[in-house]
Amino acid sequence: MLRHLWPVAAGLLLPAALILAAALLVPAHWPRFLGISAASWCLFACAPITSALLALCYRLGGDHEP
């Protein structure tokens, strides 16, 4: 069971948790860079992390062939 579920946890739930963390945990008073708030920078950083996690799922998660 765990063998089938870990790719979903890593590739879908973890990025969702990161997005949530970027929205809730970054203090509003942190400085801006190029006009963009720290919360938005953290949100943007979720993109390459998600890509890396999906690459991990692609490499190690098997083909999920029926």
């Binding site: 879908l12 963009i36 938005s40």
Partner: protein
């Protein structure tokens, strides 16, 4: 010079569409609508990310930041990012499910799996209604581009020419032309965003007037209930968009889909550049007549005329690629699902008329106020996501009857429409969520009361040796 570069790029896109036909002279309907599942990861990637960087992203995203700050960025960026992950996991199953029945559209699959003409008609009609406003929205974006490209000329004439170009893509090579033009569009678009954003940042360092301008506003915390519910609803709903199914069916294999989705989030790294461009404009006295013009206004402030023509062509192509893919989604919904029994050749022939009609209606709607379509566009994800419970049930549960899926969709759509028309406030909750919840509840209840006998789930069928 600006217009010359723009026209040259449009001509190049047409040449690419013609070239995409090479070696595929006479195509059948499946080839026309889904490229016969021949695209590898690269072409599939460019086709599918076209949805991410539409004309709305290129103009609307910086425009929204310029006009109202960052409060919408969380749900906008969050849902697109999670949608890539949803497609990574669900896309291969959609591909396999479609392959099992030889489907080219969503209603094709539901008709064949649930053996229900009523369900096919219900999904086809709702999909068409939900897709109609997208054409208008693209033409409204194109009008904005043309207002900067040729300020004195008739917008109807220019958008009409854009409509003709889209029609040409579709007629020349169907989805294959869309994919090839999407490659050109994405290369130009990446170049444009890097160029405008890069120059804005470089100029920012040289004359940092922006510091004063952006230091004052506090970080606006978005409405978390709305943002998070919208991210979830739209990310899963993204997998049920009719043209996305056509893209998925165009992929050579599930592996090609997953490889493309691994790379797709990296493509989103251009959003910070779009955002920086908006803030640069704010701090440097660039004041466009409409907020959505801010990216183009910044390009005009920073680039020579020829390069501005290139940027405008990139933005226009981003609208045309979406327009052509929506045309190719609506065509078969009418000729395969609403009007059954047409031959493959008939489907292609009648699809051209349907596409021409769709383009004409969208063009005229955009030339009017476009208000009705803009309002209908808000319903897009509310409605499009309602097929998801039925699809997941088809994958996993053999006992679900067609009546359960029909009941779920009708109940979900009705509730969403009632809430939307009544302007209901649910503490910020996205209105699609209660609709989806009711849909699932009705589907489960009808299945419990009147289970299907003799049915087989898609996963079971795929596991059974032929």
């Amino acid at each position: 010079m600006m217009i010359a570069v723009f026209v040259a790029i449009m001509a190049l896109s047409l040449a690419l569409a013609v070239w995409s036909r090479a070696g595929h002279g006479r195509s059948d309907a499946r080839s026309f609508f889904t490229a016969s599942g021949q695209f590898g990861a690269v072409l599939f990637f460019f086709l599918s990310v076209g949805e991410t960087y539409s004309i709305a992203s290129m103009l609307g995203f910086p425009g929204g930041v310029y006009a109202a700050g960052e409060s919408f960025v969380l749900w906008f960026f969050g849902y697109i990012l999670l949608a890539t992950a949803c497609l990574f996991f669900l896309g291969p199953w959609i591909w396999r499910a479609g392959g099992l029945y030889g489907s080219a559209t969503i209603p094709d699959f539901f008709r064949d799996h649930y053996r229900s003409r009523v369900l096919e008609l219900l999904i086809a009609v709702t999909s068409i209604i939900l897709l109609l406003p997208i054409g208008t929205m693209q033409f409204l974006g194109l009008r904005l581009v043309f207002s900067g490209l040729a300020p004195g000329s008739s917008p109807l004439l220019l958008t009409g020419a854009a409509g003709l170009l889209t029609f040409a893509y579709v007629v020349i090579a169907g989805l294959r032309a869309s994919a090839f033009v999407a490659v050109l569009k994405d290369l130009l678009m990446m170049g444009s965003i890097v160029l405008v954003g890069g120059l804005a940042i470089a100029d920012w360092q040289a004359a940092p007037t922006i510091t004063a301008a952006v230091a004052s506003p506090a970080v606006e915390r978005p409405d978390m209930v709305f943002a998070l519910s919208t991210i979830v609803l739209q990310a899963v709903g993204f997998t049920m968009i009719p043209q996305n199914w056509a893209f998925l069916f165009s992929a050579r294999s599930p592996r090609a889909i997953r490889r493309a989705q691994v790379a797709a989030p990296l493509y989103m790294l251009m959003f910070p550049l779009l955002m920086a461009t908006a803030y640069y404009a704010q701090g440097h006295g660039i004041a466009p007549e409409q907020p959505d013009y801010v990216f183009l206004a910044t390009a005009q402030a920073l680039l020579p005329a020829g390069a501005v023509g290139l940027v405008m062509a990139a933005v226009a192509l981003s609208g045309l690629v979406i327009l052509s893919s929506v045309c190719l989604a609506i065509g078969p919904l009418v000729t395969r699902n609403l009007v059954p029994g047409l031959s493959g050749e008939g489907q292609q022939r009648w699809s051209r008329w349907v596409v021409a009609l769709f383009l004409a209606v969208s063009l005229l709607s955009a030339d009017g106020s476009g208000t009705l379509m803009a309002r209908l566009n808000n319903l897009f994800y509310f409605g499009i996501v309602q097929t998801l419970p039925g699809f997941l049930a088809a994958l996993l549960v053999a006992r679900v009857p067609a009546a359960a899926v029909i009941g779920g969709i009708v109940a979900g759509d009705t509730l969403v429409l009632a809430l939307w028309l009544g302007e209901a406030e649910l503490g910020g909750l996205n209105l699609g969520i209660p609709g989806l919840a009711l849909n699932i509840a009705v589907l489960a209840m009808v299945t419990a009361l009147w289970p299907r006998t003799g049915g087989t789930s898609v996963v079971s069928r795929l596991r059974t040796p032929a």
